[in-house]
């Protein structure tokens, strides 16, 4: 299912799938007919409660695996995967602390799994998402995020568009910085759990800003994608 011009979600039926936690990923391995193999990690986009496993993949210009997954793969094709993987970057709806999610680009994927899980589990834990994208067309899950934000369910969402903004844009129009983080983040006294995901430099910058604002580094969990996922 196409999410944005370059991003698509794939729904997978995995026999004997044991379930997963929001934030985990799977490793996908492709094998060409001459035996050549390539492998990449993709965050699970679906909530543990969802019927089907979903991953969301951004097609990268010079990618090797992503152009295959977003473009070549057809319904019915088989994909080799391993997982779920990860125990560090996970969130369970039993956690009672307020939740702060900071996403850069395709870093939204595991955080979306967390929001979907929160909703499916009926959690009322206050949650805030700060999501940085290049342009409005690059916002993944836009309609669903708008619905969540306006549902009155305790989730607030702020978007930052760093490269171009549509006319009438009310969100942030710049890269995340100290002021933006201070406006969005919970007061540190509330000890929120923080999850930051996206390209390495984005994540390190955001984590640094939060630590500078007095956040306990132990409450901040990060997942750095590097420049590309493949």
């Amino acid at each position: 299912m196409q999410e944005t011009p370059r991003v698509a979600s794939l729904f997978l039926n995995v026999p004997d799938w044991q379930g997963h936690h929001a934030g985990q990923h799977v490793d996908v391995r492709l094998t060409a007919d001459d035996g050549y193999q390539a492998q990449r990690s993709y965050s699970v986009a679906s909530a543990p409660e969802d019927a089907r496993l979903a991953i969301t993949v951004e097609r990268l210009e010079d990618g090797e695996v992503s152009p295959y997954l977003v473009g070549e793969v057809k319904v019915g094709d088989k994909v080799e995967l391993r997982g779920p993987i990860g125990g560090y970057f996970v969130w369970n709806a039993e956690t009672s602390s307020p939740l702060l999610l900071v996403a850069g680009g395709s870093g939204i994927v595991p955080l979306m799994a967390m929001l979907r899980h929160r909703s499916a589990a009926g959690s009322k834990v206050p949650a805030r998402l700060l999501y940085s994208s290049r342009t409005a067309d690059d916002i993944i899950y836009k309609e669903e995020l708008d619905r969540i934000a306006s549902s009155g369910d305790g989730v607030e969402i702020a978007h930052a568009l760093t490269r171009a903004q549509p006319s009438g844009w009310k969100g942030y129009s710049r890269r995340i910085d100290r002021d933006m983080v201070r406006e969005i983040a919970w007061p540190k006294q509330q000890s929120p759990m923080v999850f930051i995901c996206g390209p390495t430099s984005f994540v390190e910058s955001a984590a640094g800003l939060l630590v500078d604002l007095g956040y306990d580094p132990l409450q901040i969990k990060t997942e750095r994608f590097g420049a590309t996922g493949g």
Binding site: R29, L30, T31, D33, Y36, Q37, E64, E80
Partner: protein
């Protein structure tokens, strides 16, 4: 091994059987960047190159002294152990033979050391006889930090992990001391024409 993924081709791999492409390699046109750690940032004002160890009088050049040495531009094929080869790459620098001129040593081996802690070992035979250079330009441009700039070693007849990036010197030794990758599974010598990638290859 897994099943075949229908329609997956991966990056174009020209497994052309050619006298210029060692076994198991494929030719690429881009220049992949591999790194084992953060890119060292060293200014040429502080850069020096040294030859130490089994040598009567250690040698040392500052950037200016190094740049005053005779240099040459060579065009070579390079082969990375991760299976890509790049043909006709052009480098400018000082031959290791020039750096070792007048050096009196009984050592047969060397450890090359770099900023950031990387090391690799070579037989002196593999560093001499017009086989190795200490280079500061790639393709006519100053060597980019991600490719090992300001200066890297170039030993094209061996797998490219031997061409240490961010090189700062050579320690001459009587005994072979395996370096960063050689202590962790990679072959002590690394001749791509004999596919010497791992221990016991």
């Amino acid at each position: 091994m897994g099943f075949i993924s229908r329609g997956f081709k991966g990056k174009r791999r020209d497994n052309v059987s050619s006298s210029r492409v060692p076994p198991g390699q494929h030719v690429v046109t881009d220049f992949p960047v591999l790194s084992a750690g953060p890119t060292p940032r060293v200014s040429v004002d502080q850069w020096t190159f040294s030859i130490v160890g089994e040598i009567d009088e250690p040698k040392r050049w500052t950037w200016r002294e190094f740049r005053a040495l005779p240099t040459e531009t060579v065009t070579k094929d390079i082969h990375c152990v991760t299976k890509w080869s790049k043909l006709d790459t052009s480098w400018t620098g000082v031959s290791v033979d020039t750096l070792l001129e007048g050096v009196d040593t009984a050592a047969d081996f060397a450890t090359v050391f770099s900023d950031g802690g990387y090391t690799t070992n070579l037989a002196l035979d593999d560093l001499t006889g017009n086989k190795a250079w200490v280079v500061y330009e790639y393709d006519g441009q100053p060597l980019h930090p991600e490719h090992g700039g300001p200066v890297r070693l170039l030993v094209p007849h061996l797998y490219f992990w031997k061409s240490a990036k961010w090189v700062r010197g050579i320690t001459l030794q009587n005994e072979e001391q395996p370096g960063f990758w050689e202590t962790n599974g990679y072959h002590i010598r690394g001749d791509p024409w004999r596919a010497q990638r791992y221990w016991r290859d």
